[in-house]
């Protein structure tokens, strides 16, 4: 489910504008735009709300998410707001806890992919030559491969668990950061101020870290939230296919998979509620990313 169309459209045009705009005004400008664009703010609030719900789930949940002491397959009632499952557990309580793994896996895998991809992109773009071209070829090949199937294959080898799942998903996103960063390094290293630094005899590491790397950070900022949304969807997909977790872990995707067999009998609540939570959280990250890339890309900024 690798779909970062939002970024795909904008990445190339980002840097040209950013290098023109003075750094000092950028923060003020950001907040100005933030208020004008309520979308990313709404996204941020949504994400914060869902994170808080999951953090404070032990206090918010009316029942323990794994204890089997409720009625079996009960429709939503006053006691069980979202009904109960076949193993006599409260769905509402499971939904409150069920975002912990998706959020952790989504955020950590993107951070991991970001670190690896950005470092490789900096070095590759800066050094150039045969090393760069081979690495780019490898990254392009991985990038062209279906992300979900890649994650499925890796997690099939690594086995179940949160860490294997995180690694499997992060493999998918390394090429994204590599491509974005490498492209920008190519542009920036031809600029006059880099030339000037080189003429003054700065060591290459200093040029890379002081003059080139900071200017690539902004576009990474726009890519990251959308990737987190995508990573959460991939996690949900893996969990749904039964590749991620072991019972009785509460997890939205996993719970949907467990509720699937009761859907045909009309027991809709087992599948519906965890799914809505997945939509809300990826919507939140998606809107954040959308706003950020709008802000970073003047061509798409309107009004």
């Amino acid at each position: 489910m690798k779909s970062s169309p939002l970024i795909e459209l904008t990445a190339e045009e980002l840097e040209a504008d950013l290098s023109r705009r003075p750094n000092r005004h950028r923060i003020a400008y950001f907040f100005n735009q933030l208020w004008h664009h309520k979308l990313p703010l709404a996204g941020l609030l949504l994400v914060i709300a869902i994170v808080l719900v999951n953090v404070f789930a032990p206090w918010l949940a009316p029942f323990d998410p794994t204890t089997q002491d409720q009625p079996r397959l009960s429709r939503p009632t006053q006691d069980n707001l979202m009904g109960t499952d076949a193993l006599q557990r409260d769905v509402f309580s499971r939904v409150l806890f069920g975002g912990r793994i998706p959020l952790i896996v989504g955020i950590v895998s993107v951070l991991f992919a970001l670190t690896v991809g950005v470092l490789l992109g900096w070095v590759s773009g800066f050094t150039g030559g045969i090393f760069d071209r081979s690495l780019a070829l490898i990254m392009d090949a991985i990038y062209s491969f279906p992300g979900l199937i890649l994650a499925i294959a890796v997690s099939a080898i690594l086995g179940r668990g949160v860490l294997p799942m995180t690694i499997a998903i992060s493999v998918v996103y390394v090429p994204t950061y590599f491509r974005v960063v490498r492209g920008q390094v190519f542009q920036i290293k031809e600029q006059e101020y880099v030339e000037a630094a080189r003429a003054l005899g700065s060591p290459w590491l200093r040029i890379l870290l002081r003059h080139i790397a900071p200017n690539t950070m902004s576009s990474i900022l726009a890519v990251a939230p959308i990737n987190v949304a995508d990573a959460i969807l991939t996690e949900a997909g893996l969990a749904f296919l039964g590749l991620g977790l072991a019972p009785p872990t509460p997890d939205w995707g996993f719970d949907i998979s467990n509720g699937q067999q009761y859907l045909l009998a009309g027991d809709w609540w087992l599948v519906t509620f965890p799914g809505i939570m997945i939509i809300l959280v990826s919507l939140g990250f998606g809107m954040m990313g959308e706003g950020l890339s709008d802000w970073l890309n003047p061509k798409r900024r309107r009004g």
Binding site: E8, P146, L158
Partner: protein, 340 residues
């Protein structure tokens, strides 16, 4: 100036390199990452060492890694993806048998995605920043956030369980499946038409509606965004202003002048679209119990059939590379300005 021919040759040469990279990557993932296929196959059971050695030899795992790599590449080159660890069937045969199912789903999903994606993209792009545009943009973000398997399950619930409009799972009714064999192309819709069996054709279509809508709607969000942005950018161009000022009708301007040009950048992302499509197909097949390639892959994973897993992944890699090559080619044929 490099010509068209040279571009095609460059692409032709680059495609095998990409394929080689992907094949190597698959090999590395399956062989080098900790976790021994044989141990996994035995599932923790303790067996006599000679049995384990026999398994190891059957997989070729007793040979040095570079010999394994060479064997792996040369057998793929011969179209031999090995034999399944479970039932000793050639994996190639299994894949060829399963692929039409995935292909049928893919073709109908693309049709639906193109219809909705291009349609909504054109409406939104023409009315930038108006209500329809905002509504479509929001809808597209919503689609982006929706897990494909959840959309499929909701369709089953609403149109299958509640309304009884469409069958919930499978490709054909069970009775039809016994009597009808799609043995020409493997696609039920096509084969039933060739054989002139309209009952089967309608049944196959009815079974296709929900899976292909699920996958198609998810894909249309992506296509819609790209269409919208590209159409908006094209409509800002000078030649569009010229076309408008010489009094051409808006319909003429949008469809004849703008959309054709906007379509060129849309073409470039179709390859990427295919990757998303195949990933989504795995989930869709799982929800609707279609016995396609995705189902085969998941089956292989459950049974720890490493040869089958490898075969499927390699097949997908080959398929994606070929699709990307064809996309590039079409792209350069459509746009006469493309000269590499």
């Amino acid at each position: 100036m490099k010509g068209m021919g040279q571009y095609i040759i460059t692409r032709l040469l680059l495609t095998p390199v990409t394929i080689l990279v992907l094949l190597t990557f698959v090999f590395l993932i399956l062989r080098v990452i900790p976790g021994d296929p044989v141990e996994a196959l035995l599932g923790g059971r303790s067996v006599p060492p000679e049995v384990e050695a026999r398994h190891r030899a059957a997989l070729g795992l007793d040979k040095p890694i570079y010999v394994q790599y060479w064997d792996y590449l040369s057998s793929i080159l011969h179209g031999d993806f090995g034999r399944s660890l479970i039932d000793s069937q050639p994996v190639t045969t299994d894949i060829i048998q399963r692929f039409p199912t995935t292909l049928e789903l893919a073709i109908f999903s693309i049709l639906i995605a193109t219809f909705f994606g291009l349609g909504s993209g054109v409406i939104a792009g023409r009315r930038a920043d108006r209500l329809a545009d905002h509504a479509i943009r929001f809808f597209n973000i919503g689609i982006f956030a929706t897990p494909i398997f959840w959309l499929g399950l909701m369709m089953q619930l609403v149109f299958g369980v509640w309304l009884h409009w469409f069958p919930v799972t499978d490709q054909l009714d069970i009775l039809h499946k016994i009597t009808f064999h799609a043995d020409i192309t493997g696609l039920y819709t096509v084969d039933s038409l060739i054989k002139g069996n309209l009952t089967i054709f309608t049944d196959a279509l009815r079974h296709l509606v929900m899976p292909s809508l699920t996958l198609g709607i998810i894909l249309s969000g992506f296509l819609g965004r790209i269409t919208r942005v590209n159409l908006m950018e094209t409509l800002d161009q000078d030649y569009i202003r010229t076309a408008r000022s010489k009094g051409l009708s808006e319909r003429n301007v949008v469809y004849k002048h703008a959309l054709r040009n906007a379509f060129i950048p849309i073409m470039t992302v179709l390859g990427l679209q295919f990757a998303i499509l195949l990933g989504g197909a795995v989930l869709t097949e799982s929800v609707f119990n279609w016995q396609g390639l995705g189902h085969y892959l998941l089956d292989a994973i459950t049974k720890r059939d490493y040869v089958a897993i490898q075969g499927t992944v390699v097949f997908i890699a080959l398929f994606i590379s070929i699709v990307n090559f064809l996309t590039d080619l079409t792209y350069s044929l459509i746009d006469p300005r493309v000269k590499y």
